[in-house]
Symmetry: C2
Subunit: 181 residues, 2 copies
Amino acid sequence: MKKLFFGLLLLVLVFMAFRAGELSTGKGLLPNQKMLHVGIIVEDINSSLNRWVKLLGLETVPEVHVAEGHHTNPTHYKGKPSDAKAKLVFIKLDNIQIELIEPIGETPSHWKNFLDQNGEGVHHFAFEVEGMGEHYFESFNESGMPILQHGGWNGGEYGYMDSVDSLAVTIELIEDYNRKK
Amino acid sequence: MKKLFFGLLLLVLVFMAFRAGELSTGKGLLPNQKMLHVGIIVEDINSSLNRWVKLLGLETVPEVHVAEGHHTNPTHYKGKPSDAKAKLVFIKLDNIQIELIEPIGETPSHWKNFLDQNGEGVHHFAFEVEGMGEHYFESFNESGMPILQHGGWNGGEYGYMDSVDSLAVTIELIEDYNRKK
């Protein structure tokens, strides 16, 4: 009977270790090595976009939209609810996208703070994850890169990790609820 | 006879227009929409590299080497010959590379100038071209983005265009002499 008990216990432990392995974030803090986009903070998104369109010779001008948070995942900046808004546009290149971001108004945010401190410039590199809150906020925090701003849209969520001191650029985690696996 | 002359002239003009089209840089200033790498200026390349290796879970640590110019294409900064040097390393992701750059010494360069003015941060986006000097320096200059620094290595050349005011990031043009077409 004792042997059966320890046998079952071993089986459960092996199963748990297997599941933990499945859920782990891989060998690195990030689960993959694909950069989704590079984000640039700009003062005037329409004139910036116009210059990128000319540089790249785009045939179609991508549409600017407003990020204003989403009720399922309200925007938080430095741990507090925030009504920070920004104009966004994604420019598709062959292998990556460029995101232009213009902060709206004076509400403090990671976007506005960057513009005030640095002026226009490259703000973040984005990577896709699954289970952002459960698996990544804590591991990044333990590696000295706590969550700085997070929020969502109808279909996903994002988090900016405080990685500038460590990596010279903000890492953005992105979770797309609609992505097929 | 006159008709023959104008006929031949027309033929020559059509042929020249065709050749010009062949050599043109496409619809945009850049000939393609593929970003080769993003370049980051850092203070200490080995500790930065170590942090990227952990973030990405790289199995092999890429090798740091020194860029010190090449006799076939000596480094020029702001129009004058320069002995600017930097330590470089390329980190290969699935779809793009990250280049880390640590300026060496106090010699003025686009690298050193960036570090002095901004501290660590994202410095450039790189795109590949063919016929850099013949086709690109002038067209970028006409678009308000003159050449700021250029140089080469055994097998290629690069040029940093002064595009920060316009695009919020330096555009690097890269020509790889060994690339198969």
